[in-house]
């Protein structure tokens, strides 16, 4: 792999996406929503100097949880499938660039694009709130941004895996949306149902909940924003007693990184070994 080629692909991908209207739309939506949530929570968010900034951010989490995985997984989903459908992938491959370089370059380019969108969204909302005058917990706010960036990386990499297997963009989008729904709602619903039906214990619920990257993101955000875990009930107390505050934190971050690396690595292996494009 040649870093120069990777950088080239990365820049091409990022440049094209940044010019894309979708990117502009994502950013506008994201900053508008973030700003709205921050503002609405600020209005009633302060009594006798006790503020609910933690809760403000908690309501942001939900928004972030719906929005970021969706844009990330779809962006990833269409990345390669679209080029296949348009026939630009064989053209790209006819250049002296290897498949590995294309895959890595594309991933990095799109990742940067989404990270830009997240930074812009949170940043604009933060500027607005700062002007109105809310003294927020800045480290909590920054860690939330970092977690959002990791969450985006997770779902982008899942999207890439989908894309590697899809010949058409429409198919990739379909699969991506289903997976998104699965991670956001269906999976958790399944765990909740199982818990009720089989009367699962604290440990099982904890383990099952942490299989899901969105749930990991949420738990981590709660840890960042309010370091007491009682808000998550007995499971939260169990987590903090077993692993300690630092331990839970490292565990959650590693799960997010794991969810980024595994689908990406698998997608990479499949893509680089596929013979389809070289016919």
């Amino acid at each position: 792999m040649d870093t120069k080629n990777i950088l080239l692909i990365m820049k091409k991908e990022a440049g094209e996406s940044l010019k894309n209207r979708w990117f502009v739309l994502y950013t506008i939506c994201f900053s508008a929503l973030a700003l709205l949530v921050l503002l609405f929570s600020t209005m009633g968010g302060d009594i006798a100097g006790y503020s609910g900034f933690g809760r403000t951010a908690a309501s942001l989490i939900n928004l972030v949880l719906l929005f970021i995985p969706l844009i990330a997984i779809i962006t990833g989903g269409v990345s390669i499938s679209n080029e296949r459908e348009n026939g630009t992938l064989p053209y790209l491959l006819s250049h002296p660039i290897s498949k590995n370089e294309i895959f890595v370059g594309k991933f990095l380019g799109l990742l940067i694009t989404i990270w830009f969108s997240i930074l812009l969204g949170f940043g604009l909302a933060g500027v607005g709130v700062a002007i109105i005058g809310q003294q927020g917990d800045i480290s909590g706010y920054l860690l939330t941004v970092l977690l959002s960036a990791l969450l985006a990386a997770c779902f982008l990499s899942i999207g890439f895996l989908v894309s590697v297997y899809s010949g058409k963009a429409s198919k990739a989008i379909g699969i991506s949306v289903f997976l998104w729904l699965f991670f956001i709602i269906l999976g958790d619903l399944g765990i909740m149902g199982t818990t009720v039906a089989m009367d699962l214990g604290i440990k099982q619920v904890f383990a099952l909940a942490l299989l899901n990257p969105t749930e990991v993101f949420k738990v981590a955000s709660v840890l960042v924003l309010s370091p007491r875990f009682e808000i998550l009930g007995p499971v939260g107390v169990y987590a903090i007693r077993t692993f300690g505050q630092q331990g839970v934190f490292y565990l959650l971050f590693s799960i997010l990184i794991f969810w980024t690396l595994i689908p990406l690595g698998y997608g990479y292996l499949v893509f680089t070994r596929l013979r389809r494009e070289e016919k």
Partner: protein, 442 residues
Amino acid sequence: MSAEMVHTVSPDGPFTSISLAIESAKNGDIIEVNSGTYNEHVIVDKTLNLVGINQPKIDGGGKGTVVLIKAPDVTFKGFHVSGSGESLSVEDTGIVLDSAQGSIIEDNSLDDVLFGIYLKKSSGTIIRNNNIVGKDLPIAVRGDGIRLWYSSDTKILNNTITRARDLVMWWSGDTLVKGNKIEKGRYGLHYMYSNNNVFEDNLFSENYVGGFLMYSNNIKFQNNIFARNQGPATGYGIGFKDLDDIVAKENLFVDNRIGLYMDNSPHSVDSWNTLEDNVIAFNDIGISFMPSIERNIIVSNSFVDNAEQVEVRGGGTLAGNNWFTNGRGNYWSDYVGYDENNDGIGEIPYKSESLFESLIDSYPNLRVFVFSPVAQAIELASDAFPVIKPEPKVTDNYPLMNYKIPQRYEAEEKGFSYKLFVVSLLMVLIPSISYVFIKRKI
């Protein structure tokens, strides 16, 4: 008896120790203690007026109880009491009042003491303007800041207790507790078999539990703040167990794990508790009830942004309580109705009937899913298919449209946040500049 005499104690005489001065004093005399450090254990066994000038220090040297008052009507004012022992079993204390009825303990500062001020059978005592800081020990081996034992008619006013265990009151009725600050302890207030007490203008913050009251009746709470009492595991702003005839008005319960916890209160069948005009805000759970609690009147309170407004442990409803009287209910920040005739009261009832909440009430392990989209999805589903809706925990037929925060609780305006602005601006600028850069390269 002759007129009262003044005995002066100072490091260079006439008396060089307080104990010596007490020995030669008679009932009713005044003992003036000048500033300095006195390494002794003081026993006051006469009715004396002990006055410290410029906070003289009485140091127990880390052993036993530092000051023991065993006579009635003693005044003990303006001292710095320090260095008690660390034994919980013999209750090493800063100042003990044993059968010292009608005494006044005022303007003292106590630190490095296991127990702060301990009243045994000392009714009619006034404890005012004292500052008590406990020893820096693990919470399990700390002593109480102030402890009342069979001491009624007491006034506890404007004291500060930090890093102690509890403020304990046992068998001590008719007491006024006003203007105290109790922080970073275990139970701000810990309490049994004490009736007719009044609590006003106190602050209970950052304790494991703000207050826990048991087996008592006729208690008034007004204008107290219970803030950031967060456990671990407990974290009640205030908890009531078997408590009758409580009146709680205009208190603020904010940022606790559980704002109020009700266990079998009221206990007697002819007793009603009243919670009125309180603000219950930003708690994980606003009010938590044990099942089948009845006869609470909960009116005109503001429930603001609690993650769960009302919990019924183990599930069920709270229909036996009055959530509205005379056409007025409570303010609920999650109320989604409307007010057509502009009288400040919503036209459709507020119902706390969240399917997710009743699920986590019954299956506490599922609480790990709060703030997840799945929680919202479940609510949406139960709105769409009312057949799976749980019975409402609370039905408030006259929900208030606006919340009411007592004026003194209103926050001061927060100014422009410079730090947040710079950080956010950086976050906007990084991608913007990079974008320009990338665009130029292509």
